[in-house]
Symmetry: C2
């Protein structure tokens, strides 16, 4: 399986390591992964017979100095057009207008290449169009990593609950806010907890998307579109962040409950109702045990009733795992 | 897809209803289910162009009186031999020696028919042989319903964690004992809690397999064989039931913890170590929120680390759902 990788940040580097680590296991499943190009924002490393992934990651660290295979100024779109491949893995950063990921995914699908992405941006602004484009070109577009890393939301629903009817989704989908709320429940102020989240690598310096609930809402849009065949936009989600969560945390303390930033999708009178808001949960609710930067989802089905899944989230390697699992779905 | 059903107890009846309920959904997925025979312990109803499932369930209730399609004395093995079909669904009761399910599954696989079963017995005594027989005949043997009903243990691992390495499994796999322990934690004696479990339909009159941990241990054997490619037998599992759990429940109460009957599979020095025993769990452990007759599993993987899944278990309809989902895996 010939693969083109676009984006060599944390997830991209971890994916390169993971492909090497799991090579034997993947071979035993009948999948041989050959990475024929890797693009960053400034150029592309190309090798039709396969790049050595450790070498590429090392040269990237050195600014590509002396790496023969790297063509500066030759971008992802050039490589997708010129280099023969089966799959494009799109791992660029999420942006409000979806670019550059959106153009990269469109170009790949039009060239009849399967796409695996970890990038929320393109799916938030153009989910329906991209799915149609994939169908038209008879290729797959997979995106497990966009929502809660390796928590197997799309995979589990598609594989294990296809014959059931999904009624509602509730979920904890933002690691940063879950970490901050936990620190506040342990007695810290919002500001102190936020600083710890930044120090621990959970929150980025630009933390507004996390604490204001925007990142979680983007995931809600993707879930709604993918699981309920909706055509939802970010502005359809009612969003409340955690900047003013202090009093609710005090209320939780005195009533022996917990606070969680809960994403919710439900149907009311035939219409999808989507929200992100801090909520009180009782201690015997599975959500109460979702601590640190962990994530979780609770599904309610017509026949299977309630199914809850949670995963420990510790590093970008797990996001890379979600990408790798999507790859196996294309290969096998 | 032509199906032969063997066993028309609770799960069988629920499956018949479920197939009718989900017929439209299944059709939209491209699956048309035609049930060509249904066997109980005394005979078989046959109709090559498809039985009317509601009619069959009604006639079964009436002891088959006046049902033209029912041949008394014509058993499941006769029907598997004579009637053309794609899949045999084996739903007879679990027994220590695996019969009559074992012979039925073997006969079906030898006739190159796929098999879906909800019956632990045959898998506990002959998992490896049955899998080999299925492979030899190029058909599938699926058994999601044997362990924790619709909790998607096998489906999730096979679909979403194929590229990862499973290290350990911990699980709550027996609804009856989970219900009894919960009632004891609420202050009842073991005997009173057991009587309530029987009254509520969780425990059967012959409750020893449940309270002594044998039912849970059977599921451990199936998990070990299926997930770790072991050749485990029931006698390899260290088993402790809940008859003497009183003092531990008191210990949990004073230390603000919970008691759960935990199944465990882990590797020690290259060997599988399997056990069933009541254990203390802290309130921030996801297991602590698994109440009533619900079940749960916690997996630890090399890369994905900890993934926990739990499902509400309310009726045999959910076991029937697990069978139906296995059917879609054969059909699609």
């Amino acid at each position: 399986m010939k693969i083109q990788l676009v984006g060599l940040g944390n997830v991209g580097k971890e994916l390169c390591e993971l492909i090497e680590e799991k090579r034997e296991l993947l071979n035993s499943l009948g999948t041989n992964i050959v990475v024929v190009s890797i693009s960053d924002s400034k150029g592309t490393a190309v090798a039709q017979n396969g790049l050595k992934l450790k070498e590429v990651v090392n040269y990237k660290r050195l600014g590509w100095q002396g790496f023969r295979n790297y063509k500066s100024g030759y971008g992802a779109l050039d490589a997708i057009r010129d280099v023969e491949s089966d799959v494009v893995i799109e791992l660029t950063s999420s942006t409000p207008n979806g670019e550059p990921g959106l153009s990269i995914i469109e170009a790949a699908l039009k060239k009849r290449k399967h796409v695996v992405t970890s990038n929320k941006g393109p799916l938030v602004v153009a989910y329906k169009n991209l799915i149609k484009l994939a169908e038209k070109n008879n290729v797959k577009l997979l995106y497990e990593a966009t929502v809660a890393a390796h928590l197997p939301v799309f995979c589990m629903l598609d594989s294990c609950f296809k014959a059931d009817k999904l009624l509602t989704v509730q979920a904890i989908l933002n690691a940063t806010t879950n970490f901050i709320i936990g620190e506040m429940e342990a007695g810290k102020s919002f500001q102190k907890a936020l600083n710890e989240a930044i120090g621990a690598g959970w929150a980025e310096a630009n933390y507004s998307d996390d604490v204001d609930g925007i990142d979680a809402a983007r995931k809600v849009v993707i879930l709604a579109n993918a699981l309920f065949e909706a055509d939802a936009k970010l502005e359809d989600v009612k969003i409340e962040g955690i900047r003013n969560v202090g009093p609710m945390i005090e209320e939780a303390r005195v009533s022996n409950r917990k606070v969680k930033l809960i994403c919710e999708i439900l149907k009311e009178k035939g219409r999808l109702k989507m929200s992100v808001a801090p909520k009180l949960v009782s201690l015997d609710d599975s959500f109460a045990t979702v601590n640190h930067g962990n994530m979780a989802a609770k599904f309610r089905f017509e026949t299977s009733k309630e199914v809850f899944v949670t995963a420990h989230f510790t590093s970008p390697k797990q996001t890379a795992y979600a990408v790798l699992n999507d790859l196996t779905k294309i290969a096998l």
